[in-house]
């Protein structure tokens, strides 16, 4: 009964989404106020029914309704309740429904918070969001229905993939989707502007907070995935350039470029066609990611059920939506001109370089991810492109970006006026270099060129990002959330760079057989294997080892790595024992029972690795802080619109 209710709710939601889209677009085109007025209620209804459908699926999981095919494939009666809920988005059909729910929620948020938008524009934005939702719902109902019954019902289910039975991974999809889908808002704003034939500084100001919030969720979602992979997969890596990881990273890079481009468009009315294109590309890459994961075009550990039939459906949807947006762009963008100038060294030019480098990075990742397909298409011998190429391709634009970032933060609009900043920044750079060399040699004992470059860049970024806020506070000036947010976010980038450089330069890993009583020495720490015991979990049994970690005569930690056997899926899982610290992680994982009391064990020393995720979190924090700026709170539709002329930014902001 409940699944049927959910199914029906989804169908109703589809109808409402079509109403939302149809009335919104038609009403805006023919300037019919009464038609446009239908969109907001339609959005509300759409959300209610989508939430209802989702709720029905969740209820079916929690109640262990194994007469539903999807529940039987992904859950089990022994699965703890929290993971029964997480299992809802554990596979293809349910994760699509999650996509739809998140999109409906974003659309509702836009409807609520954008009352001040000019009516036709607002109606168009909601209409485009409705079209996207309708596309996804049609795809779900036609090819990927989670409410299909299993006749006869299964006695019990297949259990959730043990890999997914983990807190971080359970919340990773909702957070990631909130980011991915949030980029649809900027996309819709872009399409609405193109349909209107008008794009100005107001438009940039309206779009910016939505984009920053989506970007923030995407940052946290990606960081969560990376952190999870590190502690769960048992061997300490944090990024693999897997096609699906790349698919999530490209929107992030474009979204970062978009936020910065919006800043220029908002402040100076420039880069309009750039901003427009980035807004389209951001969500397009999100959609592309959806396609890659579900179509079987590329092999990936993340891939859902790979079904070319579904893949074709998504490809058609992609073709229509992205193709349509880019066609609109080709038509409208040429008319967006502006005649303001800026000097070669100015905030605008730094932001231009920043965006170009980010787009180059995203483009290279896309290039590397898709290159194997092109090679096969040309019937040449298959190639595989992995971390060695991606690291090199990513560093190429990123190193210049980081170098420019330290200076760019202080550039003024139009004329950079760097004279007052040059000396302190160069002194800072020198100090950072010194500190980097000291750290590399004294603490870690070796100094490769790239390591010094990375540590110097990271430390210098920390200094550079704090310089301006501190100087302002000293002079008794107010610190707007925008300025503070920017400083925090860039500070986060510095931490991230330090973390990556530290762990990749100085990590140590050792595999060895160990018996209780043996002591392993890694990175100056001693790992004493004390013994094993058996443990019973809710849906697994495990062997747990005890390792006492010391440094000289100082006690550091006791670690309990486990090797779990999940009863239903008969899969074994490693749970590493990790000691977290301000300067390093210590990592122990159990391998195989070698017999005669010996086990193969992997011990790792991971210096500075936590700063990778801490840096990402702080970047996200910077994003939130920046969004709270007063100028985003009130949206006044009646403000004068000036296209092309570089209206004083100060006048608009107050």
């Amino acid at each position: 009964m409940i699944p049927e209710l959910g199914h029906f709710a989804l169908i109703l939601a589809l109808c409402l989404a079509l109403v939302q889209a149809g009335f919104g677009l038609a009403g805006a085109f023919w300037r019919r106020e009464d038609w446009m007025a239908v969109t907001r209620p339609a959005v509300a209804g759409h959300f209610v029914f989508v939430a209802l459908a989702f709720g029905c699926l969740v209820a079916s999981f929690v109640a262990n309704d194994f007469s539903l095919h999807y529940v039987a494939m992904n859950s089990n009666s022994a699965l703890p309740t929290f993971y029964r809920v997480a299992a809802v988005w554990g596979a293809h059909e349910g994760s699509l429904l999650l996509w739809i729910v998140v999109l409906a929620a974003w659309t509702l948020a836009v409807a609520i918070f954008s009352r001040g938008l000019p009516t036709p524009f607002g109606a168009r934005v909601l209409a485009v969001l409705g079209l996207i939702s309708a596309g996804f719902m049609t795809f779900t109902l036609a090819t990927s229905n989670p409410f299909l019954r299993l006749m006869p019902a299964a006695a019990d289910g297949n259990d959730l993939n043990p890999l997914l039975q983990d807190f971080a991974l359970a919340i990773h999809p909702p957070i990631l989707y909130t980011g991915y889908v949030g980029l649809a808002v900027a996309f819709s704003f872009a399409i609405a502007a193109m349909l209107e034939g008008r794009l100005d500084q107001h438009w940039a100001r309206w779009t910016r907070p939505w984009t920053t919030v989506a970007w923030m969720f995407l940052t946290i979602g990606i960081a969560l995935g990376s952190w999870w992979a590190y502690y769960e997969l048992g061997w300490g890596g944090w990024w693999f350039w897997d096609p699906v990881e790349n698919a999530s990273f490209m929107p992030w890079l474009i979204a970062t470029a978009l936020i910065h481009s919006l800043a220029v468009t908002e402040k100076r009315g420039l880069f309009k066609s750039w901003t427009l294109l980035l807004a389209i590309l951001g969500f397009s890459l999100s959609l592309l990611g959806t396609f890659l994961v579900r179509s079987g075009v590329l092999t990936s550990v993340h891939a859902f059920a790979t079904d070319p039939a579904r893949g074709l459906f998504v490809l058609i949807f992609l073709f229509l939506s992205i193709g349509g947006a880019l066609a609109l762009y080709a038509w409208r963008a040429p008319k967006l001109g502006s005649s303001s100038g800026f000097e070669m060294w100015s905030r605008e030019s730094f932001l231009l370089f920043n965006n170009i480098l980010l787009v180059v990075a995203a483009g290279l990742i896309l290039f590397g991810t898709l290159y194997p397909i092109f090679v096969e298409w040309l019937q040449l011998p298959k190639v595989s492109i992995g971390a060695p190429w991606f690291t090199w391709a990513f560093l190429a634009p990123m190193l210049p970006l980081i170098a420019l970032l330290g200076f760019g933060m202080h550039a003024a609009w139009k004329h950079a006026r760097m004279a007052q900043h040059k000396k302190p920044l160069l002194i800072g750079l020198g100090l950072a270099l010194l500190a980097a060399i000291v750290i590399a040699v004294a603490v870690f004992g070796s100094a490769a060129v790239l390591t010094i470059v990375g540590l110097t860049a990271g430390l210098w970024l920390l200094y550079s990002s704090l310089r301006d806020p501190i100087a302002r506070m000293r002079r008794g000036h107010s610190l707007s959330p925008s300025v503070l947010g920017m400083a925090i976010a860039h500070f986060g980038v510095g931490l991230f760079v330090i973390g990556v450089t530290g762990v990749e330069s100085y990590k140590i890993q050792k595999d060895m057989p160990m018996r209780p009583g043996d002591v392993a020495e890694v990175g100056g720490y001693q790992f004493a294997f004390r013994g094993l015991r058996n443990v019973n979990g809710p849906n697994y049994v495990a062997v747990e080892g005890e390792f006492r970690v010391t440094r000289g005569d100082r006690e550091i930690a006791t670690l309990h790595p486990q090797k779990r056997m999940y009863r239903v899926q008969q899969g074994a899982m490693t749970e590493a024992g990790i000691s977290v610290g301000w300067t390093r992680d210590l990592f122990v994982a159990l391998g195989e029972d070698l017999g005669a009391g010996a086990w193969s064990v992997r011990v790792q020393y991971k210096p500075l690795i936590r700063y990778i995720w801490l840096g990402a979190l702080i970047m996200a924090l910077g994003g939130i802080v920046a969004t709270t700026d007063r100028r985003y709170r009130t949206v006044k539709a009646s403000e004068p619109v000036s296209q092309g002329a570089g209206a004083p930014a100060g006048g608009v902001a107050t």
Binding site: G341, Q509, T574, A589, G646
Partner: protein, 162 residues
């Protein structure tokens, strides 16, 4: 449907395999240089069972076998190139995570430089056009010069009106 089942089976195997076989049961090399070469080689060879990780990380039995082969070849004094060729002779270039530098991958390896050149060209075009506009900026009379984030540089903190 069959392909779906096969994929599902593979997924379960790979998922269930994410555990322990990745860890070698033998001590590492005494010679740190050999150990470093071993780590590097195994991290750049793709595991062909799950195809989404290197043989250093994979828990598939084939990966363990291949690591064993790499280990014995290193101990026998083979060079890195010889070891890689052993693998590509049997599995093709697909087994290498570092794509070979061959005519069909020239575009790939030169890609970063090409993209950067293109980006640089675009930057140059835009900046030179805009810098020229600064001189003839008649329609921007009110824009203050040094402005960051909408605030004048030296504007004192606003005091609350009594």
């Amino acid at each position: 449907m069959k392909r779906l089942l096969a994929t599902l089976a593979l997924a379960v195997v790979c998922a269930g395999a994410f555990t322990a076989h990745a860890i070698d049961a033998v001590e590492g090399f005494d010679d740190p240089k050999l150990q470093a070469r071993y780590d590097k080689l195994t991290s750049e060879l793709r595991c062909l069972v799950c195809q989404s990780g290197s043989i250093a990380e994979s828990n598939a039995l084939l990966a363990a076998d291949l690591r064993r082969e790499v280990r014995s070849m290193l101990a026998a004094g083979k060079t890195d190139d010889e070891i890689r060729r052993f693998m590509t002779d049997r599995y093709g270039d697909f087994v290498l995570y570092r794509p070979p530098f061959a005519p069909r991958t020239w575009l790939l390896w030169f890609g970063p430089a090409l993209f950067l050149l293109l980006g640089g060209f675009v930057a140059f075009r835009v900046v030179s056009r805009r810098a020229a506009m600064v001189a003839s900026d008649a329609d921007d009379p009110g824009a203050p010069d040094a402005m960051i984030e909408g605030e004048q540089v030296d504007r004192p903190r606003r005091t609350r009106a009594p």
